[in-house]
């Protein structure tokens, strides 16, 4: 049973017919074509599917599409402002904080949400925060440094 759900994605209002029990990840990928949200584990553990819901990092693979109603969704595609990369995106590039890149959109959105709540975090807090998403390639250190660099700015 599909039903109409209205929400905002990357600043644009959308109204979609969704199956309420479908995860937001499927809606974002299959119906909106925003493929930066990645399918990694389907159990809300790896965080590759992270999106922002009203500015908070959420695992979209287990967040039901119906719950998006009336909310503001930001995917990695919506992080650039006026054609300029978010400082976190720029820092990930500058620090070489990526290999295959599959986890990177989720990791950047997680860090964005974290820095909004903790504008002046300690290095240990940054490690703990990034510790909730998985990366199998980089060994995390360059990601930690990239987030530190943005936090210090």
């Amino acid at each position: 049973m599909r039903r109409a759900v209205s929400f905002t994605v990357n600043g644009r209002a959308v109204e979609l017919e969704v199956e309420p029990a479908r995860p937001l990840l499927d809606v974002v990928r299959d119906q909106l074509g925003l493929l930066g949200a990645r399918r990694g584990c389907e159990t809300a553990y790896c965080g590759a599917c992270t999106v922002l819901v009203d500015g908070l990092a959420v695992r979209s693979c287990t967040f039901l599409a119906a719950r998006a109603a009336g909310r503001e969704i930001t995917t990695i595609e919506g992080l650039e402002r006026d054609g300029a990369l978010d400082p976190l995106q720029a820092a990930f590039i500058e620090h070489g904080a990526l290999e295959c890149g599959y986890c990177v959109p989720g990791m950047i959105l997680l860090a964005r949400s974290f820095l909004t709540d903790h504008p002046t975090p300690s290095p240990a807090e940054i490690r703990r925060a990034l510790g909730s998403n998985l990366c199998r390639c980089t060994g995390y250190l360059k990601m930690i440094k990239a987030v530190e660099a943005v936090a210090l700015r």
Binding site: L34, L35, G36, A37, R38, R39, G40, C41, E42, T43, Y45, C46, A48, T75, I76, E77, L79, E80, L85, Q89, F92, I93, E94, G96, A97, L98, E99, C100, G101, Y102, C103, V104, P105, I108, I126, R127, R128, L130, G131, S132, N133, L134, C135, R136, C137, T138, G139, Y140, L141, K142, M143, I144
Partner: protein, 768 residues
């Protein structure tokens, strides 16, 4: 003037912007109009005979477009070396997860429901799970027809003669290395030390799950988009399986979301092709995360014994090693791994008497796959831990003990090969210095440990490349290498830019498409930058020569007097103005390059002797500094130094990330990760119960140290770096733990429980 303009510089990956903005497309993202979704039905039993498969219920379901069983597929087996795997089981299933049937339907949910509607009647058979059970007299035999299985020589040109599957047993392969007289060596030794070590299965866990999409055209031509590290071999195997011309099969792997060795084997590809043929529509399958565990396994587990004879002054005189590999039901790259690890099992040391037996055994578990290091990390877990055990027994400093016995330039390896570019001693010294080995103070609460690193590159493999220079001076590199995330595509662009005097941003790279890119063996064995890089360098040089020759003819000057820079030709008499290459070109210039890495992998079946067993050997060392909580067994890695002679760093930033990533993967294998089996069943096939390292598990500091000897066989003297940094992590950490708390752990992973138990033995409680 600097020696180089572009190589040797730490530039960010060329695709970094696409990756941080989410614009990058992975094989999993591929879609086609009219595409169906597939699911695979897998065996719930570790060993069973299939009595009956009834697909009628599934076929009758609305939305189901095709149901596939062995009846729809060629009566053949597949396999990287020994063809021991059916794409869909016809008669016997040999592990939990063995594929039995597949469905294509309008969506994933319908396909999954249809799989559940397929009725399979099994008759359970006795099964073997552990290596001892596999070797026991009268043990159930995993592959009854093993003696008749076809063996291919595709991995190296000459693997066939020494491969020994033993029909009627579970011995898939037994590799023997014999050097000197080990019995005499032990007799003449002052001390003989015996040890036993075990190593667990860990999962590759690339964050992009395995995924395949197949399209079959009415003409029969097949295109497969798949997350694989080796498009050309996947094409070759697919064409062979379906009796098709290779030219009628196209395999495309966009830059993938990680591989680590788990994506070099035919997996979903023949299933999606079979489904797409039957349904007459494109079919895509994406594995669930639990499926990647159950169907693709992980790193090959096993056990090894090691016995060392040593003189009172710390010279190694004899070493005997026996390795029992639990090869599961599918041997995959196991025969190669079991052979090459036998070569290194005695360590990178001068030992006059060496005796190694490496057994690859079939069991009723999912077949492990190639995994970063192809067995070297597991074997060095034993050998390099044992080195410290022997050093402590002799009262010799572990660094000094290694240096006293280390291989040197020009030494012969136990299998007879003369070794070159041997920089082990330098690496060990650097690793020791990096962790404060020489500044130790008595009674401090920090442990320090070292391990040597030795790793081969697979012998006898080919890379080809094309380099195009367009009329506007921009450059395109075409390489069959799949960029698995290592940044190899960026390294290729840097090499082409260097040779053509171009700006690296003017170079685009096309990777991993059998139709567009020339042959490449694949992104494995730390070979991409070396083999692919040499091919790209040659192709770029050829393009450069052609441009300058055309310019020379037109300008009436000798080609060697002209220079190519920034898409312009420069003449010596007018150094102030360049002439755009477009003036000399119609269409583009095409350069071709090819590199065949030497070595044959041809071994004497009785002694393992080989004139050149690998393309080249890589040397390094790991140093670990740890603190241990004696009560809880929790270990904190304060600093981990990973030292490598990589010859020349084409891109130092990528090299650092490769080292850090491999080290943290090694930390996972050391402390956290284990695919846990109950009999034949994996009990933790998900990221909740299987612990991968997170940002909080990373050592406080990682020191990636690069020694640039320029002695590698790759471009500008480069060697590969993908695998070596994982090889020494576990033993270096275990040696550091023993150093500070005097507890020797011999089984991976070193969980807090395991270490706490070793530190605080609980007395046996008497029961009434």
């Amino acid at each position: 003037m600097a020696e180089f303009t572009t190589v040797g510089r730490p530039i960010p990956k060329l695709d970094a912007v696409d990756k941080v903005t989410g614009r990058h497309r992975y094989p999993l993202d591929a879609v086609l109009p009219g595409m169906l979704w597939g699911k695979v039905l897998r065996s719930p039993y570790p060993h069973a005979r299939i009595r009956r498969i009834d697909t009628s219920g599934a076929e009758a379901m609305p939305g189901v477009m095709a149901v596939l069983t062995w009846r729809d597929l060629p009566r053949k087996r597949v396999g990287n070396v020994i063809k021991d795997q059916e794409v869909l089981a016809s008669d016997v299933v040999r592990y939990v997860g063995d594929a039995v049937a597949a469905v294509a339907a309008v969506d994933e949910g319908v396909a999954e429901a249809a799989c559940r509607a397929i009725e399979v009647e099994y008759e359970e058979l006795p099964a073997v799970f552990e290596v001892d059970e596999a070797l026991a007299p009268g043990a159930p035999v995993v592959h009854e027809d093993l003696a008749g299985y076809e063996i291919r020589g595709v991995t190296t040109s000459a693997t066939i003669p020494f491969l020994r599957p033993q029909g009627g047993t579970n011995i898939c392969h037994h590799f023997k290395l014999r050097h000197g007289d080990v019995a005499r060596g032990f007799r003449e030794s002052d001390h003989v030390v015996e040890d036993e070590f075990s190593f667990q299965m860990i999962h590759h866990a690339p964050l992009e799950p395995h995924s395949s999409l197949a399209q079959v055209l009415p003409s029969g031509e097949v295109t497969v988009w798949s997350s694989v590290q080796n498009v050309h071999r996947i094409r070759q195997w697919l064409a062979e399986y379906f009796d098709m011309a290779q030219s009628a099969v196209r395999v495309i792997a966009l830059k993938l979301g990680g591989g680590f060795g788990g994506k070099i084997t035919l997996t979903l590809e023949p299933i999606v092709v079979g489904l797409a043929r039957k349904a007459g529509q494109p079919v895509k399958i994406v594995m669930t995360r639990s499926e990647t565990f159950i169907a693709t396994g992980g790193r090959r587990p096993g056990r090894m014994t090691i016995k060392t004879g040593v003189s009172h002054d710390g010279r190694l005189l004899a070493r005997q090693v026996t390795i029992l590999w639990n090869g599961g039901a599918v041997s995959e790259s196991g025969p190669i791994s079991a052979s090459l690890t036998a070569l290194i099992a005695s360590g990178p040391y001068r030992i006059p008497n060496v005796h190694v037996d490496s057994y690859l055994l079939y069991t009723n578990r999912v077949g492990p796959r190639a995994f970063r290091g192809l067995g070297a990390p597991q074997v060095f877990w034993g050998t390099e831990s044992h080195m410290d055990v022997v050093a402590r027994k002799l009262g010799v400093d572990p660094l000094e003990f290694r240096l006293r016995n280390a291989l040197e330039e020009g030494d012969r390896a136990p299998w007879g090969e003369r070794l070159h570019g041997v920089t082990l001693k330098e690496c060990l010294q650097r690793a020791a210095a990096e962790i404060g080995w020489f500044d130790r103070t008595p009674g401090e609460n920090v442990g320090r440990g070292l391990a040597s690193i030795w790793k081969w590159t697979v012998p006898g493999t080919l890379s080809q490349a094309l380099v195009k220079v367009h009329e506007d001076g921009t450059v395109a590199v075409m390489t069959g290498i799949a960029d698995v995330g290592t940044g190899s595509a960026t390294a290729m662009a840097q090499i082409a830019a260097e040779e053509l005097g171009a700006d690296v941003r003017q170079v685009s790279v096309v990777v991993g498409d059998t139709e567009l890119t020339p042959y490449d063996y694949g992104s494995t064995s730390s070979r991409s930058t070396v083999h692919g890089g040499n091919a790209v360098k040659e192709a770029a040089q050829s393009a450069r020569r052609q441009i300058l020759e055309r310019a020379a003819a037109e300008l009436g000057l000798a080609a060697e007097r002209l220079e190519l820079r920034q898409g312009q030709v420069w003449r010596p008499d007018r150094p102030e103005e360049g002439i755009p290459v477009g003036r000399f070109l119609q269409g583009y210039v095409l350069g071709f390059g090819s590199f065949h890495g030497g070595g044959q992998g041809l071994f004497d079946p009785e002694t393992g002797a080989s004139p050149r067993a690998a393309h080249e050997w890589k040397y390094g060392a790991t140093g670990a500094m740890v603190e241990v909580d004696r009560e809880t067994g929790r270990v904190r890695v304060k600093r981990l130094a990973s030292v490598h002679d990589i010859g020349f760093a084409i891109n130092p930033l990528s090299v650092e990330t490769q080292i850090e990533g491999a080290v943290v993967m090694g930390i996972g294998a050391t402390f956290l990760e284990e695919v846990v089996f109950d009999g034949g069943q994996i009990v933790n096939p998900n990221f909740m119960d299987y612990l991968l390292p997170t940002a909080t598990d990373v050592p406080d500091e990682i020191a990636p140290v690069v020694i640039e000897s320029r002695k590698g066989d790759g471009p500008y003297g480069a060697k590969g770096i993908g695998e070596p940094p994982i090889v020494g992590v576990s033993p270096a950490v275990a040696n550091a733990i023993d150093d500070v708390v005097g507890a020797r752990i011999r089984d991976l992973p070193i969980t807090p429980e395991r270490l706490a138990r070793a530190l605080n033995p609980i007395p046996e409680r008497r029961t009434a």
